[in-house]
Symmetry: C2
Subunit: 502 residues, 2 copies
């Protein structure tokens, strides 16, 4: 019986640490949804304390010894062994970071988040700069603490996807660039679809209710989650029975709320689908952030910007907004929501130019972390890269380098997962479509169960059991292949733009 007791002791400890982490996640959720303004300062220190304590508990020498012993135990089940080996991996990595550093980073990031909010309000990067400089200094230190073979940025990207490196990501982006460029050049020759119908007045409450309806129809379980309003949409969870999404509503832009609901909803379905009995253990956690982003991008784009999806949903939407959408056909709607054009704001970008937004951030982060770019040079570098990749100029900071929350949170290394996620999504969706030839018909009837069930079968239940590459291979028969995205995009956008001519 000893081995079982040992495994249980391990599980108890991991779950205790999870309790602290998830409590901290609730503190953060509250900070972005309901916290009264004056409560901010104390909230920052509360989050920092919880983060420090859970880290301290985890890097405790006893944890290491317990894990080492359990690694030798061959009476454990396969799943138990996998939990132990993943936890040991996490432990070895975490041990490199002193608890004081974790606390310092948490406090710095809290301050920099508020500086970013203030800088946005005043549309002035220089207000954010001193705090950002501190964050970058700490992230560079973190990379050194974690260690790396080739590039310091590898250490940070690994936080979000273990298999992602500067080398692998450079290769992927170089593969993507010419095909994307080519596709964009073709499209540039053709007339643009009209999407002005999105920018009318759409009543807030009606939008809110419509978002809830979309979440319900995509199988979000409101008994095990909720939606609230925040300035920046996000998904968080405190266990797989309590998964929360947020959205924002712009009364002058219907798109903002709609595709943020579908995006966050995709993240949330993944979290709700993770095995609850693995609470606090690696097998209860998501595989990698690239896989997580594949889930959001799949629902947002492959499903949520498809014609079959809107053939079913559009009449209901027209009913909600007869004045605004009564004169726009579903084909016009579909073409409009897929209009391709170089733009300034990442979250509002089309599926094609989106990748250039990511590449720009990726290049900047890489340079900031290796030290070849200084934080104060960001606005100029931002302008240069937007000129280079998208041929547009950046009028001010809020439409430029102040638009994303990530740096203020210290999330360096995150952005690339959006592109990788989109590519995974295309590959998954192509595989589902091949396996279920009637998928389009089903979506036209408002039935997205096939998609959800495929994900429930091939993605959600495994937690971190498989690596992203393994998961993808098992689910689709091959590792990540950017061809699927290129084929999907070529087909979709040629179709939209060709039809638009006739």
């Amino acid at each position: 019986m000893k081995e079982i007791i040992d495994y249980q002791a391990y599980q108890t400890k991991m779950q205790q640490i999870a309790d602290l982490k998830y409590a901290s996640a609730l503190l953060q959720w509250d900070q972005e949804t309901y916290l009264p303004p004056k409560g901010n300062d104390f909230r920052g220190r509360q989050i920092a304390t919880l983060t420090e304590l859970s880290h301290e508990l985890f890097i405790d020498e006893k944890t290491g010894n317990q894990l080492k012993e359990l690694l030798q135990n061959d009476k454990l089940t396969d799943a138990e062994k996998r939990n132990i080996s993943l936890s040991f991996e996490d432990y070895q990595k975490a041990k490199k970071i002193p608890a004081a550093f974790v606390k310092q980073l948490s406090e710095t990031v809290n301050k920099s988040f508020h500086a970013w909010i203030k800088a946005r309000k005043l549309n002035k990067f220089s207000i954010f700069l001193p705090e950002l400089e501190q964050v970058i200094t700490l992230k560079r230190k973190e990379a050194d603490l974690i260690g790396y073979v080739t590039h310091p940025y590898d250490a940070l990207m690994n936080e979000f996807d273990k298999s992602m490196t500067v080398a692998s990501n450079d290769a992927l982006f170089e593969e993507l660039k010419p095909s994307l460029r080519n596709l964009l050049d073709q499209i540039a020759e053709l007339p643009d679809p009209d999407n002005r119908f999105l920018r009318q007045h759409f009543d807030k409450d009606t939008q809110w209710k419509y978002g809830i309806r979309l979440l319900k129809e995509m199988h979000f379980d409101f008994e095990a989650g909720r939606q609230d309003i925040s300035e920046h949409p996000f998904t968080t969870n405190f266990n797989s029975h309590d998964v929360r999404v947020t959205t924002r509503i712009d009364e002058n832009d219907f798109g903002n709320m709609t595709w943020s609901c579908l995006h966050e909803g995709g993240h949330a379905l993944y979290e709700q689908g993770l095995p609850a009995d693995q609470y606090g253990l690696p097998l209860g956690e998501y595989c990698s952030l690239s896989i997580h982003e594949s889930q959001s991008r799949l629902w947002e784009n492959n499903v949520g910007r498809s014609l079959p999806f809107w053939i079913y949903h559009y009449p209901g939407l027209q009913q909600q907004f007869p004045k605004q959408l009564g004169g726009t056909s579903v084909e016009q709607f579909y073409a409009g929501i897929n209009k391709v054009s170089p733009s300034l704001i990442r979250t509002e970008a089309d599926e094609l130019t989106y990748h250039f937004h990511i590449m720009i951030r990726y290049e900047l982060e890489k340079a900031l972390i290796e030290g070849s770019l200084k934080a104060k040079e960001i606005p100029l570098a931002w302008e240069d890269l937007y000129q280079k990749y998208l041929g547009i100029s950046v009028p001010d900071d809020i439409h430029g380098c102040l638009q994303d929350v990530h740096w203020s949170h210290g999330s360096f290394g995150y952005f690339a997962t959006y592109s990788t996620g989109s590519i995974y999504a295309a590959q998954f969706f192509e595989h589902i479509s091949r396996q279920y030839p009637f998928l389009d018909q089903e979506l036209k009837l408002g039935n997205s169960k096939t998609v959800h069930q495929w994900l429930q079968q091939h993605i959600y239940p495994f937690g971190r059991y498989y690596t992203a590459a393994e998961l993808c291979s098992r689910a689709t028969g091959e590792i990540l292949n950017s061809r699927y995205f290129i084929n999907y995009a070529s087909r979709k956008f040629s179709d939209i733009y060709q039809k638009n001519i006739n």
Copy 2:
């Protein structure tokens, strides 16, 4: 410099523990406001873990040694010394309770809360009984662990008010009973005011907005707090810059929301008034729960059920509900909201019979903790006592022993603080009235600043520096004296009922 460093180390540790406690408080707030139903189980264990950890951190041997050393340090300021001695007192008490017991109690209480919810839904005490039995067993054990001189219930009452004992409380209640009885007998001879106007349909949203307005007018700072909806109104805080109240809205009873707002608002003003720079230290905490209840009862009753208060507020209220209140004069309204009649539900009771509701619970708790009453005998004992004190019979459990949340939370020893709080409130209010002869005039003009300022001066800033008795003596010139309540009640209710005859 050594002593300063020591004090800072103490402060850092206490604030770290406070971070954990307040994180746990947010988890509980969320549980009662926004938690999706399936999230309950994991939430219970998360709260239990945080409770256990903060207890463990506090009872650590190092804390004790540090405190003992600081107790000898005569270079500290008076306030610092007081913090140290109060923390040492807390420490000695907390050390008696093993961390495992704290966790067990927290988990048991979480389960019993859900059993209580279920029992209420089905109006069946027997569903709550097994869980309640466990809670009582643990509370009796807790009393033994803490220790007591005379009565085990003393140990539990001390949790809420250090100076409260069975002996002191019995004496207070025996003092109160004949005067209350006498007053009730006089009133029974006179015709009742009509209060049926309260039980009409009052639109939910309009009620909600009216509640927010009341909170604003009583000086609740919405930059440092918020109001939400929960099944059972409560106040909680995560520091004095983040104080949250909840209310409930009954569309068929205007009273429910209104006086819960004023009651919780009174609690909240106290928390918002505590010194923020003493975060996590005894001087940043409320004096005692009796003093806390004095703050809620003062705003709810002495201010919020007074004629001057409504002379100002009533026209605005009539504007919100012209159909419901247009035909009722402010004098009729005032008489109606103060109608005295024996009733079944404590939170809806008038200011006089209220004390009998408390005495009943007090007697039952005392008997349960000393072991002379079994949990399963509660419904019968409840019936007997309601017959004895209020001459009414109890139709079912939901109108009887299932009405209060306290036992499901394990809060044995709490109830008496409501009565004591009312008596403190009467004494404070009488003192303010004497000091400010124009108080009534001010209230009639909608100005309650004098009340708030007096409390800001005499109650809020001291935290736990003074005991309840000291605080009361300093503020009013004498210790708690039930005569103030009796005089206040005699004057008020004779007036209402005498006028009602003519």
